[in-house]
């Protein structure tokens, strides 16, 4: 599974980071660091929760 983050849409709510701070790394200003994230087996539930937790709708599941 992969998720992608539209970094232009990210406004630093850091809700994905609150779901999993290792998967969803932030830059120094508190905005999403990486646009593409490989989700390791077992972490799919957390990844989906991060997708639905983003107020901006900036995170999408791109491959399963």
């Amino acid at each position: 599974m992969k998720v992608s983050i539209d970094l232009d849409k990210c406004c630093g709510h850091a809700r994905c980071h609150a779901v999993d701070s290792e998967l969803f790394l932030l830059d120094d200003g508190g905005y999403a660091l990486r646009p593409e994230i490989d989700i390791p087996p077992g972490a799919e539930g957390k990844a989906r929760r991060a997708v639905t937790s983003c107020p901006e709708g900036a995170i999408r599941e791109t491959a399963s």
């Binding site: 849409k9 609150a18 107020p55």
Partner: protein, 398 residues
């Protein structure tokens, strides 16, 4: 530019004053009623403004600052004499400010303040515990975040009562609209004078605090000016004083009247962050606004350039077309995609500090005073703007 659309709009019109105090729940019920009328309604108060009532339209407005500018953020003050930074600036200037301020308000930086925030909360709560009752608003909810902000910013703790008195006039004055605005403006000037003196002092003698650090901000390659610093600090201090307090009022009202939810926070403190997000959704009480820069429409309602739009964030959280059983607090809801801190590039800069304060307040309070109920006091009422409840009497067995 005119403040009214040139052709009559299809959306229903109302005439209500946001300065009115209603019994707690009254404003929520009123706004829920507006949503039932249609996706956009109009209030003729002031020079008139539009109110989108659904989550998707509120979010779209917040995410499009080119069309919906934050140069005016109070729907009935379309030509403000003030220019808060970074809230009311836009474009590249805004990006430069946010880029430089972000690191001071990031989750990582705020995490480091946890012990300080916790010490402030537990100190105030321990003082109250033996009393058996309090007005949560004046005895805790207003004092705690203000004390945190003073400490973090580098302002003297003994200035707390002075700033709380000014804060009262800025956010909580009620009555004749002209008198309310006059009191608000006088208090805003007083905060400005107060901060100008502090900034001048830090220019002369630096310290290890945020005011000193802010002197290094650069815009377009030049040093920040005193006027810009004032417009920044004034907004930050005023926002920090009141918004967390307002949210605490709603949180504790809910918990005092829903013993099962309260019991869960006491017995399973690890559920507090999730519970807090759900209460933020349900009680998003901030009311903000935008000024329209070009002729456009919201949900089919024509909105002319120069018009004002009011964003009642609670209407997003309570929109049944976005959240199932939106009017119910469900601590198992498991999402935090609410707009309590806004959205788009102007997302509340202090949201991570606010979250930390709210979480710590819930954790420390329930450790020390796990069982409490509504106490005796004045009737609890709420304001139609971003000001929360007027009082929250609580009582517990000593």
């Amino acid at each position: 530019m005119t403040a009214q659309p040139e052709r009559p709009s299809a959306c229903p019109a109302h005439d209500f004053t946001p300065y009115e105090l209603k019994p707690l729940g009254g404003w929520t019920e009123f706004y829920d009623g507006l949503r039932a009328e249609g996706p956009v309604v109009r209030n003729v108060f002031g020079r008139g403004y539009f109110i989108p009532t659904r989550h998707e339209d509120i979010l779209s407005v917040l995410q499009d600052p080119e069309t919906f500018s934050s140069e005016a953020m109070v729907a009935y003050e379309p030509d403000p004499s003030y220019r808060w930074i970074p809230a009311m600036i836009g474009g590249d200037e805004h990006r430069q400010w946010r880029r430089q301020l972000g690191p001071y308000f990031s989750p990582r930086e705020i995490e480091r303040l946890d012990a300080q925030v916790r010490a402030r909360a537990s100190g105030l709560i321990r003082e109250l515990a033996g009393r058996g009752s309090c007005d949560l608003m004046t005895d805790f909810a207003l004092k705690f975040p203000t004390a945190v902000v003073l400490e973090v910013v580098g302002l003297p703790a003994e200035d707390l009562p002075y700033l709380l008195a000014l804060e009262e006039d800025i956010n909580h004055a009620i009555g004749d609209p002209e008198d309310v605005i006059r009191r608000k403006m006088t208090a805003i000037d007083a905060v400005r004078d107060y901060l100008a003196e502090k900034i001048a002092r830090r220019r002369a003698h630096s310290a290890d605090d945020m005011i000193t650090k802010s002197l290094d901000i650069e815009i377009d390659g030049r040093p920040v000016t005193d006027t810009e610093l004032l417009n920044y600090w004034q907004f930050l201090v005023q926002a920090g004083l009141d918004s967390v307090a307002g949210m605490l009022g709603y949180f504790f009202y809910h918990l005092a009247t829903h013993p099962a939810d309260r019991r869960r926070l006491v017995d399973q403190p690890e559920t507090i962050p999730g519970a807090m997000e759900e209460m933020l959704r349900a009680f998003s009480f901030i009311v903000t606004g935008r000024k329209v820069t070009r002729d456009t429409e919201i949900a089919g309602c024509p909105v002319a350039a120069g018009s004002m739009v009011q964003l009642v964030l609670k209407m997003s959280g309570r929109d049944d077309s976005f959240y199932a059983n939106a009017d119910q607090v469900d601590l198992d809801r498991g999402t935090s995609n609410h707009l309590a801190f806004g959205a788009g590039p102007h997302r509340c800069l202090g949201s991570h500090l606010a979250r930390r304060e709210l979480r710590v307040a819930l954790e420390e309070w329930h450790k020390t005073i796990p069982d409490y109920r509504l106490g005796e006091g004045r009737p609890i009422a709420e304001f139609g703007r971003s000001s929360g409840v007027n009082t929250l009497p609580l009582a517990w067995d000593k």
